[in-house]
């Protein structure tokens, strides 16, 4: 087909939502910096990562809602 590449809707919404979640993104980046030199392998940034992604998910879900019926 000669159409341009279809843009994945979810990625598009996630990119649009990134500005809303800058605070979480910054705190994640700060964590990454903090644990950079870590050798023990026990330090990780899962908390900040989850905060960021749940913020993005909430924002994305405000744009879409999975209909309960079999549309």
């Amino acid at each position: 087909m000669a159409d341009e590449e279809p843009v994945d809707q979810k990625k598009y919404l996630e990119d649009g939502c990134k500005p809303k979640c800058v605070k979480q993104l910054r705190s994640y980046e700060a964590c990454v910096k903090r644990i950079q030199g870590d050798e023990s392998g026990h330090k990780h940034c899962t908390g900040q990562y989850f905060d960021y992604w749940s913020c993005v998910d909430k924002c994305v879900s405000s744009f879409i809602c999975l209909e309960p019926q079999f549309g």
């Binding site: 590449e5 279809p6 644990i35 392998g41 330090k43 990780h44 899962t46 998910d57 999975l66 079999f70």
Partner: protein
């Protein structure tokens, strides 16, 4: 309905190589996702072991509407062996078998991201923040353009995710729409009946509730 059809195409082309759906038969699709002829043709493409015949031997024949969906592996052990020890779960009831099933499956399928800093996943597993524990054996399967829909809809990741979740929800709860309509109807009717019963009870009891009792002195 068209979404269930597309979802079935996603299942068949992307998922069926590892995931069984052993509780669904081809005839369940008739009238929902495909016509009877289309479903018969689809069923006839697979080989089914049947028998024994008059000579006592098992034989293979093309599939019929009454056959269940084909299983990718003969048993759980074969499935685990082929997938590095992990068993791809049967998907017939998956949206009911997971909390918030529809949203969970969609998020899982479309939510493969890089792991957070400090988290390493061993060889053979993949990071998925929605999977409990974070390390899932299934790689990211829904990739833009992974398949061509029959009806020409662009096959983006989110589109395939939503279609396959609709298909899986239908497979787990085909009666959902009818059940909910029945629920609305009967809850409405029974609440009318409740109001009527409450009124009638208060009407009959009003005689006693409006009694006056007097304590008096006996002279």
């Amino acid at each position: 309905m068209i979404r269930i059809r597309r979802g079935h195409q996603v299942y068949q082309q992307v998922c069926a190589s590892c995931h069984s759906m052993s509780l669904i038969s081809f005839r369940d699709l008739v009238g929902v996702a495909y016509t009877e002829e289309e479903t018969k043709t689809m069923a006839a493409e697979i080989e089914v072991v049947d028998g024994p015949n008059d000579e006592g031997e098992m034989f293979t024949r093309p599939g019929k509407l009454s056959d269940r969906f084909p299983q990718p592996y003969a048993n759980e052990a074969a499935a685990r062996f082929a997938n590095g020890g992990a068993y791809p779960p049967d998907l017939s009831l998956i949206t009911k078998a997971r909390h918030n099933g529809q949203n969970y499956v969609f998020a899982l399928l479309t939510g493969y991201h890089d792991p957070p800093a400090g988290v390493t996943i061993r060889e053979g597993l993949h990071y998925n923040p929605y999977f409990p524990g974070g390390a899932i054996a299934m790689p990211k399967m829904l990739i833009d353009g992974a398949l061509e829909y029959e009806d020409g809809t662009p096959a983006t990741e989110a589109q395939m995710g939503k279609d396959v979740v609709t298909f899986l929800s239908w497979a787990a709860e085909p009666e959902m729409e009818e059940r909910k309509l029945m629920g609305f109807k009967w809850i409405f009717l029974l609440s009318l009946a409740l109001l009527q019963a409450a009124y009638y009870r208060r009407l009959r009891w009003s005689v006693l509730k409006s009694r006056r009792l007097v304590l008096d002195v006996v002279n």
